[in-house]
Amino acid sequence: MSGHVKNFLEKRKTVIIKKWFDCVVDTYPPETASFLKKEKDPFNNPVGKTTVQCLEAIIDHLLDKRSEQDMISHLDPIIRIRSVQDFPPSKAAGFVLFLKKIIREELNNQKSKDVEINELSALDSKIDELVLIAFDVYAKCRETFYQIKANEAKNRFYKAFERAGLVTGLTEEKQDLS
């Protein structure tokens, strides 16, 4: 991809992140959204803080070459949170798509002629790729989550009983889910 889009993203990074963050945060109820936006303490506001950090990282590395593994690590923290919050999968992972609209808006605002249409569609497909990765991450998080859930009782009680030899006959079937 040529440098125009990259330059543009770099130049308008703060604005784009700000807008994107606002969009993502507005997926929460308004009372909560204001808290997420306002509260600066990362320990009193892990959701807001994680969200903004992840969005930054994604923008920074959006156009990198070898990005798939990196992108997973950038998307993981935010989706890890959203996947246990009250969102359907489309919303939990779909926030990535807000980026398309925001970038277009920004391009219009800037009346930037540099970025050509084919560059833009290349960017779009990058974002599409990102969404797919986001869904992968989402699925992975849910999978982990259910594993934890399934293992909990076992880890908590069964394991101890088993170690104590108070449970017999199931050892062959034992499979480690962790």
Binding site: C23, P29, P30, E31, T32, Q85, L97, F157, L166
Partner: protein, 552 residues
């Protein structure tokens, strides 16, 4: 197709600006993963609580007794007359909002009704309607509303989404304690048979067998016997000999049964055994366990004051029967809130016991001279201070430890420095989490007060997010890999929490760390910790520990 569905404009449009409806007009939405199953009628029946029945929170019909409104109203009135805290807290909140963002559930879920002030308003609105003139006259303008089935459902959902951790109370200028309000609300709900099973069944079990899992006495002993074997293995041939229900022992030991039956609490239990063995060998320390009072934790506390008292009574009863001098309490959170703030008042005076004195150091535990029950952290800290324990902290060198203050010992008792003193004497690598997430400002594990069930896992993950987030911070900054705590619910709740948010961090009890570092009399070289894991550096060639290949 995707064009139609996922146009960003549309997504944005849909998600933007949800009209802000008045909270009173927003009915509760009981969501999967965010609530606990209804109580099993058998459990409710066993302890003789009213209106036992099978019901499902997701159903429209909760099979309430005919006169449920009257029951609630009368129960409300009775509690206002019995508890000044309740009455005052119903009246004086100014809704300043200081508590709003202090609740871990609000921080994690973002559900506005999880703000402590609003949680309390759920009850207050009905209070105004039923018990104040202004509310009766002005109605909704005065913030009053009638108790309807929707309001009741809201109560049930949100008062079983409070872990009674009291963090909000720390910041309230009037000390309004949402825990206190939640306790009252749960009492009211129990009057019409609305409880959750993760509370009701442990209550019944504790009542009958003495522990919340319903483990019968022989199994309890078996379990400890197994620890004896395990200790022999990991501690190089040490043969510990716990005693049970032994009359004439000096001291009775009571710990939550979670330590006996659930990982990683079991390692803490092994720690107790090793510590007691060490003290017996060295100083003739004389302590007994009980199978009757084998549960320190008190799920009655999450049901009603009366149930709490019924379960708690076993401690003094057993101490009296066995004729011990005083009671030593293990690591537990709400057990200690009950002991510290309720036990003596409810089931005392314990005049058949002696004022606690450490038989080893001679230290008088002045602060527990009436209740006659000493916390193991106080007891061990005193031993270490008097140099009565031979310790090798380097045996914990593979651990980088941080300490999670459990809500109840922190905000209902003030046990902050004792466990820190102990841990810092048995570990060389100790790191604190940020100031506003520890001590009296500690974040809840998200699973306290009976919410430690399996079905509400999302709720627990979100409630524990602020805690996990602070752990993650020290993990990333200092490489912390072990989260210590002095609470059995923590030891049950934090491992899955860590597994989801910070998979590299494990959970331990304080006494496990002590036992790791303790140089047992007559031990041969110990190369593993209590978990049977090799301690790097003590082995001729380092073997990589297992935990490392857990998938991300």
């Amino acid at each position: 197709m995707s064009d139609e569905l996922l146009k960003p404009e549309e997504l944005i449009k849909i998600d933007h600006k949800i009209p802000s409806k008045d909270w009173m007009d927003t009915p509760v939405n009981i969501r999967k993963g965010m609530y606990c199953y209804a109580s099993n009628p058998k459990s409710v029946e066993y302890v003789g609580l009213p209106h036992a029945r099978a019901w499902n929170p997701l159903d429209d019909d909760w099979k309430l007794p005919e006169n449920w409104k009257q029951i609630i109203h009368e129960g409300f009135k009775e509690r206002l007359d019995k508890f000044r805290s309740f009455k005052v807290f119903m009246d004086i909140c100014v809704r300043c909002g200081a508590c709003a963002d202090k609740c871990h559930f609000f921080i994690g879920t973002g559900d506005p009704k999880n703000m402590p002030v609003l949680r309390a308003e759920l009850l207050r609105s009905v209070y105004r309607n039923d018990f104040t003139k202004v509310g009766k006259i002005l109605g909704k303008i005065a913030g009053a509303r009638e108790l309807t089935i929707d309001v009741l459902k809201e109560w049930w959902y949100y008062f079983f989404s409070c872990t009674e951790c009291r963090r909000c109370s720390v910041f309230c200028p009037y000390g309004i304690d949402t825990a206190e309000i939640t306790i009252m609300a749960r009492e009211l709900l129990n009057l019409i048979g609305l409880n959750i099973d993760w509370i009701a069944t442990p209550v019944a079990n504790c009542y009958r067998t003495g522990n919340h899992l319903g483990i019968q006495p022989h199994a309890f002993k078996d379990m400890l016997d197994f620890f004896v074997e395990d200790i022999e293995e990991v501690a190089g041939g040490i043969q510990v000999e716990p005693s049970f229900n032994r009359k004439g022992a000096d001291i009775l030991f009571i710990t939550p049964s979670g330590d006996v039956f659930a990982d990683p609490g079991t390692y803490t239990a092994m720690g107790y055994l090793m510590l007691f063995h060490y003290l017996r060998e060295k100083y003739g320390f004389d302590i007994t366990w009980s199978t009757y009072a084998s549960e320190g934790g008190n799920f009655g506390f999450f049901t009603s004051h009366e149930t709490m008292k019924r379960l708690n009574s076993k401690m003094y009863a057993e101490a009296k029967r066995l004729g011990v001098k005083w009671i030593l309490g293990g690591e537990c959170g709400h057990m200690w809130r009950v002991i510290n703030q309720y036990m003596d008042t409810m089931n005392g005076p314990a005049d058949f016991l002696e004022e606690p004195v450490s038989p080893i150091t001679g230290t008088k535990f002045e602060n527990s001279k009436s209740t006659k029950m000493v916390h193991i952290a106080e007891f061990v800290a005193d031993l270490i201070k008097h140099d009565k324990l031979e310790l090798d902290p380097s045996r914990n060198d593979h651990l980088k430890v941080t300490f999670h203050d459990s809500c109840n010992p922190a905000r209902g008792m003030g046990l902050l420095d004792e466990p820190r003193y102990v841990i810092q004497n048995v570990c060389n690598h100790f790191y604190e989490m940020p100031d506003n997430t520890i001590r009296e400002q500690t974040f809840c594990c998200g699973s306290g007060a009976g919410l430690n069930a399996g079905e509400n896992m999302e709720q627990r993950m979100l409630g524990g997010l602020p805690r996990a987030n602070a752990v993650k911070y020290v993990h990333e900054k200092h490489g912390v890999n072990m989260l210590a705590c002095v609470c059995a619910i923590d030891r049950a709740a934090l491992p899955p929490l860590m597994e989801y948010w910070v998979p590299e961090v494990d959970v331990t009890g304080m006494t496990e760390l002590v036992a790791n570092a303790l140089i047992m009399p007559g031990q041969v070289d110990r190369t593993t910790d209590l978990r049977g894991e090799e301690i790097p550096g003590l082995q001729s060639d380092d073997v990589k520990t297992e935990g490392d290949n857990v998938e991300k």
